[in-house]
């Protein structure tokens, strides 16, 4: 039974594409077959983050127009067996695809892959509706900022209205130091407002930017980094494993505040 998951956020720039690429890679590393769909027509980035740009020949639009077969358009990742990408067209815009067409693509891929992960564009217009049309589950990416959380809340409402009720929350770009100093919303604050189950917390890290520019998902990196571990953990939780959350606050604060946290104060 394959799972169709959409990664969405409402607000732009919170890390949807980074999350999609890393989750895809992490799941493939765990011997799952994964198809990533870039639903951001006109502003495609997923191929860049995966380092597959120069190997894109056909796009989803070509498949829908009947100019190539679906299998031809899929770009296989050389580093990971089982990871493929269905690229979006860069020369078109979001109106060139309809929700039913996206559904057809995702359902066709679902026959051959364990996971179909759809990278949703920002916003809540047609591009968003295309991306969520086929999804059975959703991962909401947000950062601990008021605007991002507000948009995430709106998107959760829209997903629920569409009948997508299996929703997991990823809080991205958490800065433990700022949380400690009360300058940033904590993960608990975000959770309290959104009221959906947490599936991962990813700390802010420069390595993410380096990896993005190199076109190499962090989880494939040679050195273990905290965000890479966080993404692997999310992938394991998706698989149903119970993995404890990373204690990002562990190295913060003095002995007193740590003790206070331990006792839930």
């Amino acid at each position: 039974m394959s799972r169709i998951i959409v990664v969405t956020s409402g607000k732009g720039g919170v890390g949807k594409t980074t999350t999609t690429s890393n989750l895809g890679a992490a799941l493939a590393k765990q011997n799952r077959s994964v198809a990533l769909i870039d639903a951001d027509f006109g502003l495609r980035n997923l191929d860049l983050l995966l380092g597959l740009e120069e190997r894109v020949v056909y796009t989803a639009i070509d498949v829908l127009a009947g100019e190539c077969r679906l299998a031809q358009a899929l770009v296989k990742d050389k580093r990971l067996k089982g990871l493929v990408l269905l690229p979006a067209a860069q020369n078109r815009n979001k109106e060139s695809v309809q929700p039913e067409q996206m559904k057809k693509l995702a359902n066709a891929l679902a026959k051959g892959y364990d996971y179909i992960i759809i990278d949703c564009p920002a916003g809540i217009e047609l591009g968003f509706r295309n991306a969520i049309s086929a999804a059975e589950e959703a991962l909401i990416v947000t950062t601990p900022e008021v605007a991002a959380v507000r948009d995430a809340d709106r998107v959760i409402g829209l997903l629920e209205a569409e009948g997508v009720n299996k929703i997991g929350l990823i809080v991205n770009r958490v800065k433990p130091l700022m949380v400690e100093e009360n300058k940033m919303m904590s993960v608990e604050d975000v959770l309290e407002l959104l009221g959906v189950p947490l599936i991962g917390v990813v700390p802010d890290d420069e390595k993410v930017i380096v990896a993005t520019n190199r076109g190499e998902p962090l989880v494939l990196g040679e050195y273990d980094s905290v965000p890479a571990l966080a993404y692997s953990n999310i992938a394991r939780r998706l698989e149903g494993e119970k993995v404890p959350f990373l204690d990002l606050m562990a190295n913060q604060g003095n002995i007193l505040s740590r003790l206070r946290r331990m006792f839930g104060g």
Binding site: D153, R154, G157, A161, G195
Partner: protein, 278 residues
Amino acid sequence: MNFEPTISLDKIDDVPDSSPLVNRYSQICLKHDGDQLLLVLPTQAEINSDLPWSETWQELKHLLQTKEQSWQVGTKVCLIAKDRLLDARQLQTIAETLNEVKLSLETISTNRRQTAVAAATSGYSVQQTSLSEPLNPESSEIDSPSLVLAEPLYIQSTVRSGVEIRHPGTVVICGDLNPGGKAIAAGDIFVWGRLRGIAHAGAQGNRQCRIAALQMEFTQLRIADAVARPPKLRPRRLSPELAFVTIEGIRLVKTLDFAKTYIFSSSKEAWVDKNEAK
């Protein structure tokens, strides 16, 4: 539509929501009528503009999902379309949406000939009414902002950002009212959770209406024509609070203390302290 004629220099003033005294109850509503349910669509005039069909449909889906499912499986629904133009495809979408929550569309009441034809072709029973006469007592009640309020609306989910609940009666929200979300009621508003968005009670001008929440963290409270913003510094209170109109404006007290301390003075059109009223 009872908009007060206002003289305005600013275009923004024309936005219907900016006035605290909006009498716009242009939302789809679902009510019991004997052993059937009435699904009332707002009239063309009430929706104020050509609201796209997709929005109406979205609203219907949302309504069916958040409303307490207080009906038997297979309950018949009568769609009161009034002067809305609906084609066969739109009727089919409505029927399918109702089907998802185990309701079946049976009758369509309309005063548009085209809608009646479309409904009859699709095999629904049709009640065609003329424009002048009211469709039935219930729907005329909604049209006129009368003092009789509709039955309370009970919402069993969190009201999230971007969602606006409008109801010509009392609204009970069993969940949070999140920032960016809005509840507008002609009666009282009760939030069995955190109130973080905007709540407007007594939207038809009744200053006696109150707003209660387990935790008050609102963006804005409005009762009738009074508006209140949260103070800059507010102690985080753990007890449920209630907002009401006094002579000085909107006030918050502990819900527990309200009933024994305050009484509504109709001459002053505000709640006053019982001890001072003596």
